[in-house]
């Protein structure tokens, strides 16, 4: 029943998309600057149908309608209500529906919110966006239909992977999708701008808010993913350089570069084609990421079931997208001699772009290289943290310093009067760094440099708040929080303490300043899993502080899986992080203990960073 209804709405959405494209082409032929009323209506209707489609699928998950394959494969009648709902987008088919929702809603909002801009530009954006929507609707209907029926109807579902049953993971995909699927709208707008020759700073104004929205959500989405990895995967890290994490980082770099190059286009009418390239690149990277994750050619923690036919479809779609945009770019491209003074804000914005591109290429190479060697030389390798850390870390130092200097410069021509000022800040930063070394612990030269340069950015941004006549608070906040982010990652990296050992019930072990006792083991039964909860007392012998942590081993039934739940005690100074795992046929448990200083500040910095994007969005909306 729900299956038929869902399929019907999906087909209806295809018809609506075709109608929108048809009327838009008709409307292009008229000479006045008005868009037909029915285009607005159709576009609204389209958003509503897709939402209805999504709610239908949610309903199927809530009532556990196992006649639908997607529900059967990803749900279970005993699953808690909340996870039944989040299961809707925790799988390939459902998440594609989320894709289309964002494509259509952004399409509709762009249409109604940009009334000041020329008709043709808006119509072409709508047309191209609807071609993207059609592409994904066809993919959904013919390859990954969330409403496919199954007969005979199974009595029970297979259950959602327990590791995905987590509140952070319920909101992680929607946030991330608003980010990188949202970038589709400026892909379409960039194409429309080339087609209609709408190439001045007004174009920059029309897409700025959209770039900021997608950037803010992308940042939050990446953050929630990291928090999930930290809590759930049980080894205390928050970034793996896993190919799929990289796939979310790649569009983020492109977006960040785009935000900055848009400034130059908006203020100085320069770098138009460069901005276009970044618009196209962002969405292209998003689709590439989707291809890499969904086709199953990468192995990673994000396991979507492998199905090569999906890969073929997305790859064809991606190729079409790339070559169409390249075709327009090459035919429209005019080399313009943009004269930029080397000592001006424009130059610093360009430097930001070079850095972003450097990071982007590094991460892209690291992600694709294993695929290339596998195909070309038949050798399987994996590129891990050592590569990224050694390539990216040293470059961050220069980046942070230029990030502090850039905002102090002026447009067009700049006189460098503030050399003394920067010297003063550097001395401050160096003193603070060596105070940390003196009072706590020394660390490597590269860590020293990272911490000094992040302090340089922090101090310089803080001074800006008091110094500038015209306060660009969103910018200051974002730069400041980026400085804090790197600063806290640096300290966290250098001052973490870790111990790995085996312990049995009642036993006491002592390492350095800590004493560990496994006091008790508690066995309990929950609706969808059994749990063994350890009661571990940790005493800090230097301060005589005592605390109890309760790590858990969970045994899930549907599907049968073991997960290890970390026990984490957080405060503003440090996290105590403890996981426990069983050792077969032995009374011992393996304990992994970590003390991670200032952990929460890493999360707070990223929240502040994205809040900077949000404030910038508000400011931009107010100015226009």
């Amino acid at each position: 029943m729900l299956s038929n209804f869902g399929n019907f709405i999906l087909f209806l959405s295809i018809i609506l998309s075709c109608l929108i494209i048809h009327y838009s082409f008709n409307c292009l032929k008229t000479s006045n600057n008005l868009i037909f009323k029915n285009i607005y209506q159709l576009s609204l209707l389209q958003s509503c149908t897709i939402l209805l489609c999504f709610f239908t699928l949610i309903a199927a998950f809530i009532i556990s309608d196992f006649s639908i394959i997607t529900v059967y494969q990803n749900s279970h009648s005993l699953k808690p209500f909340f996870y039944k709902i989040s299961g809707t987008w925790g799988n390939h088919e459902g998440s594609l529906l989320l894709w289309v929702i964002i494509l259509t809603i952004f399409s509709f909002l762009f249409l109604i919110l940009n009334k000041k801009h020329p008709k043709n530009y808006r119509l072409y954006t709508l047309i191209i966006q609807n071609f993207l929507i059609l592409g994904f609707l066809f993919f959904i209907i013919f390859n990954s239909n969330p409403f496919s029926a199954i007969a005979p109807i199974p009595k029970e579902g297979l259950g959602l992977n327990p590791i995905l049953q987590d509140p952070a993971l319920a909101i992680h995909p929607p946030l991330l999708y608003v980010g990188f699927v949202g970038s589709s709208i400026y892909f379409s707008a960039a194409m429309a701008s080339m087609i209609t020759n709408y190439s001045n700073n007004l174009f920059a104004k029309s897409i700025k808010s959209w770039v900021l929205v997608s950037w803010t959500f992308q940042t939050l989405g990446i953050l929630v993913g990291s928090i999930w990895a930290y809590y759930e995967l049980g080894w205390g890290g928050f970034w793996f350089w896993d190919p799929v994490e990289n796939a979310s980082l790649l569009p983020w770099f492109a977006m960040t570069a785009l935000i900055h190059s848009l400034l130059v286009l908006e203020k100085r009418n320069l770098l138009y084609f460069w901005t276009i390239i970044l618009c196209l690149l962002t969405f292209t990277l998003s689709v590439t990421g989707t291809f890499l994750v969904r086709s199953g050619i990468l192995n990673s923690v994000h396991t979507f079931a492998n199905d090569p036919s999906r890969g073929v479809y997305i790859l064809v779609f991606l190729s079409l997208m790339i070559f169409t945009s390249i075709f327009f770019l090459f035919t429209k491209y005019k080399s313009k001699n943009d004269r930029i003074n080397s000592n001006s804000k424009e130059t610093f914005v360009l430097i930001n772009n070079w850095f972003m591109l450097f990071y982007l290429i590094t991460v892209l190479l690291g992600t694709l290289y294993p695929i290339f060697t596998d195909i070309l030389f038949n050798s399987k390798i994996s590129v891990g943290p050592p590569f990224y850390n050694s390539v990216i870390t040293p470059v961050v130092i220069a980046f942070l310093i230029l990030m502090a200097i850039g905002p102090q410069t002026k447009w067009i021509k700049n006189k460098f009067e503030n050399l003394k000022y920067f010297l003063l800040i550097s001395i401050f930063a160096i003193i603070i760094n060596f105070l940390i070394v003196f009072f706590f612990r020394s660390y490597s030269i590269i860590s020293n440099l990272i911490i000094i340069s992040s302090l340089f950015l922090i101090i310089s941004s803080t001074f800006d708040i008091f110094k500038k006549k015209i306060l660009n608070f969103p910018r200051i906040l974002s730069h400041l929080s980026f400085g804090f982010l790197i600063f806290f990652i640096g300290l966290n990296h250098n001052f973490s303490y870790e111990k790995d050992f085996n312990l049995k019930l009642g036993e006491t072990k002592k390492f350095d300043n800590y004493e560990f006792v496994l006091k008790d083991l508690e066995f309990s039964q929950f609706s969808n899993y059994k749990a063994v909860k350890g009661k571990l007392k940790i005493s800090d012998l230097s301060t005589n502080e005592e605390r109890t942590l309760n790590p858990e081993i969970r045994i899930f039934d549907n599907p049968q899986t073991l997960t290890y739940e970390a026990s984490i005690q957080t405060n503003f100074l440090r996290d105590y992080y403890l996981t426990m795992s069983n050792i077969d046929r032995s009374e011992y448990y393996n304990i992994k203990f970590q003390k991670k200083p200032l952990m929460i500040w890493i999360w707070i910095s990223v929240i502040m960073l994205s809040f900077g994007g949000f404030l910038s969005l508000l400011r931009n909306a107010k100015n226009n």
Partner: protein, 171 residues
């Protein structure tokens, strides 16, 4: 100049997309079925008890050898253990047990409580040597003859059918 740059960009994109396409058609990374019929010529395994290295020399006397990868922490290994015990009674089959990413004390405890079916015991503490056998996870077993040709591979625990297969082959 501009033309050259444009052509290079297109070539790079075609190259990347081409690789993606080929990658789609490539078999899954962990499929090692194609190894059957190949020869295992450079066997090198660390002995479990001492510093000796076990090589092809040590195996050529046996008519058939079953190389079994196992660990005390691996639950499916326990399931297949009775079948290995049964196979250890076969006269023309030697069994090598490669203890995979394990601790010696736990491994010995395991063999003490479930029995030791192995004629030779080897260890692979970091799971590195096993990769050259095409083994990424355990349990996994490889049956070779006295010319070191792989007769059959068993990914996952050996079951009743596998047991009969092995008995048929070594007859």
């Amino acid at each position: 100049m501009q033309k050259t740059i444009k052509s290079i960009i297109i070539l790079i994109l075609v190259f990347i997309l081409g690789i993606f396409f080929l990658a789609l058609n490539k078999n899954s990374n962990y499929d090692t079925e194609h190894l059957i019929g190949n020869k295992l010529l450079n066997i090198k395994l660390d002995s479990f008890e001492n510093n000796k290295i076990i090589s092809n020399e040590d195996l050529k006397e046996n008519q058939f050898t079953l190389i079994n990868f196992w660990a005390s922490w691996c639950a499916p290994c326990r399931d297949e253990h009775p079948y290995l015990m049964e196979l250890s009674n076969e006269n023309n089959l030697n069994i090598i047990g490669v203890n995979f990413k394990d601790k010696k004390t736990y491994a010995l405890k395991f063999l003490k409580s479930y029995g030791n079916p192995y004629d030779i015991l080897a260890k692979d503490l970091k799971g590195k040597q096993s990769v050259s056998f095409g083994v990424y996870g355990i349990p996994e077993s490889i049956l070779i003859d006295n010319k070191f040709v792989i007769k059959k591979k068993f990914i996952g625990p050996i079951n009743k059918n596998d047991l009969n297969d092995i008995k048929d082959i070594i007859k």
